[in-house]
Symmetry: C2
Subunit: 405 residues, 2 copies
């Protein structure tokens, strides 16, 4: 049987971290890969540019023709062809000739420099040049951006728009990425109904399902949200089904005095409960277990506790399954008021940071509104009972949870 | 006819900002509203909690019964019923009685306090109480979280998971949000093909379409990406079609020496070109125009210029259409090398920030790879020609472009 002794937050995190984690990869079309995580190294398959090309709108010339050109000794070159991007010239250059060329068009055979349009004067079918142009001027050389065989991006890279562009240029139309984990969220509670203005006696709105869908989305994963009554047999059935079909299961609620701790009992009967009760406030009843090699995060029913438990215990695990390693980005700032803390517990206090000064939002624990009034948590460790106004404290900004490139 | 004189960046931004902007709103299911922008104030429709409820697992009692209770004078109350969350008790309390109650269950008629489970001892069908409990203890009162009629969120709020939870509790199942703009991206260039390792002569991979799809997604908008040859008539046709069906049009490329400046000419023939050429490097050929009241952002063909032009001119406009106001979040840091800048132009230099020191990525302008090697832009204004190693400079981190709650 599992124990219900409270364990310190850091022990709980260690247990979760040490649980064997399953990684999955899949091939997807490159166009859908923004904000996905690369599951392979990208080796460049083609030189970029694939040929020597003009870096300017102008004229392809033989640089040596211009060696004596100046205002007092202008040079005239005959225009023998014109190349736009995407086409090639059939002509071969020889001394005294020029070919009009667009940015990006391949350098014609025999040419070795480009003179910018602005540096020439067009007279009939000739251009007048009054300056010396050195060989290689304004040519983008084959392979100078990406060299065939070069490893340009490494497995684990979070992909942004420009990464896709570079991967496309490297010759890939689809790529291997880490699979987004599929997360089943089982919301328990007989009292929960859909949002309505006509609540029957004893019923409340199932608000957790909306928060959970968003939290899973913010963790770049897929959610499947179901409801389960506070009933041990039904919970066992749902857990059995979900641990077969999904990569992770998250539950909310399920501590009903009349029925016992339905969720933990159900997990215990199918697998193993590794954590049940953590010295954290709010969120003490948090549990974690394993069924069929799949992790089960057992969260509270109260929205505020759900938020804290998800942020502290579940979010980074889900990201890690996609090979995104995030640590808590604790920063120091100044307490704007005295902050009292429950001794022996890690207190995670919803707070508002303004100009480097942080103010706790003082509400009862059941006040969901406090989450949207706050923008950070103050972290108070187990040994601290009070932080005085003006003293330093550790905070974790909500914005630090976001994943970006 | 439009002029091609270069205008300063800040003038270009002013022209874009002063263009009449169209806002659209729509109703969507609340569950899909994570990361959307609220298009209405949210007035609470039902009290939350909707009834006085227990904040603890314990026993509902009449507080006055305990007024003399102590270890030496224990009180015994008879348990007459049990209420789980989601149900009501049919019993009415009277002195000497207690009702077992779950967290979240409605307070029974006649009770006025809850004593926590841990503070009692169960003996047969009675509980033993050895302390005084004050009235209202551990009750969550009707409306104490959300009060009916209260405006809890304002139009323009970017919605995160917990906002959805609060809106659900307030009684809403769908809400009005700003519509995501539909953005047509017209990629021009006869030389462009899909990613392949078998490039025909003169052809290159259409990498911009991948970057553009991601950039539009990062701006929380929908993209529709099409290709157009470098041909004036075809471009006019596509622009006509896209300005009817989409909210914004973005073009890339279209300056083909053999054909003239196809895109700007096409915009000019259907509407008005307001900007054509900006004193910015890279990205000088940037254009902006209006057709059928719809904005047209004309970007370059080179990926690096596309990135800069999108970031400086287009991104914040697209966000603003969703009522998200972003300013450039310029921060100061120290130049790790001498940085030379083209005089008279705003230089936007791809750079790498490391420990508050910034190093420009030194590559030719056509080197797409530089975007993924960098994490910020150094901004050098028109009047500055050199920033010496060790001097302060202004940078814009790529991460600052992201939108979060």
């Amino acid at each position: 049987m599992y124990s219900s002794n409270l364990i310190p937050v850091k022990n709980a995190l260690k247990i979760i971290r040490n649980t064997k984690m399953n990684f999955y990869k899949e091939y997807i079309p490159l166009k859908d890969a923004n904000m996905r995580v690369l599951g392979e190294d990208i080796e460049v398959l083609v030189d970029v540019p694939p040929f020597d090309r003009s870096a300017m709108d102008g004229y392809a010339i033989i640089a040596e023709d211009t060696s004596n050109a100046s205002s007092s000794n202008p040079l005239y070159l005959e225009i023998i062809d014109e190349i736009g991007a995407g086409t090639e010239s059939k002509c071969t250059m020889s001394s005294g000739k020029a070919i009009r060329i667009a940015t990006g068009a391949p350098m014609p055979l025999g040419s070795n420099a480009v003179i910018m349009h602005e540096d020439t004067e067009l007279i009939d079918n000739k251009i007048k040049i009054t300056r010396v142009i050195l060989p290689n001027k304004d040519i983008a050389f084959k392979g100078e951006d990406l060299k065939k065989g070069e490893v340009i991006l490494k497995e684990g890279q979070i992909l942004g728009p420009h990464y896709l562009s570079v991967i496309a240029s490297s010759g890939y139309n689809k790529i291997k990425v880490f699979k987004k984990p599929k997360i089943a969220v089982i919301i328990t509670g007989n009292e929960l109904v859909e949002p309505t203005t006509d609540l029957k006696p004893g019923k409340i709105v199932n608000s957790n399902k909306f928060a959970m869908k968003g939290l899973v989305e913010d963790s770049l994963a897929f959610s499947h949200i179901i409801h389960c009554e506070d009933d041990l047999d039904k919970m066992i059935e749902k857990l059995k089904d979900c641990t077969q079909k999904y990569d992770v299961v998250i539950t909310t609620g399920g501590t009903a005095i009349s029925k016992g701790d339905v969720v933990a009992d159900a997990v215990n009967s199918l697998g193993e409960v590794l954590i049940h009760g953590v010295s954290i406030k709010p969120g003490k009843p948090f549990g974690f277990g394993i069924i069929n090699d799949k992790p089960i995060f057992m969260l509270s029913g109260y929205p505020v506790a759900v938020a804290v438990q998800f942020d502290i215990f579940a979010r980074n695990y889900i990201l890690k399954m996609q090979n995104i390693t995030k640590e808590f980005d604790l920063i120091k700032c100044i307490a704007g008021e005295d902050i009292k803390s429950a001794h022996g517990k890690c207190n995670i206090i919803r707070s508002k940071l303004e100009n480097n000064i942080v103010y706790p939002i003082r509400t009862k624990s059941g006040i969901n509104k406090s989450i949207v009034m706050s923008n950070c948590y103050i972290f108070v460790d187990e040994d601290t009972e009070i932080i005085k106004k003006g003293e330093e404290c550790n905070i974790l900004k909500y914005s630090s949870f976001k994943v970006f490139e």
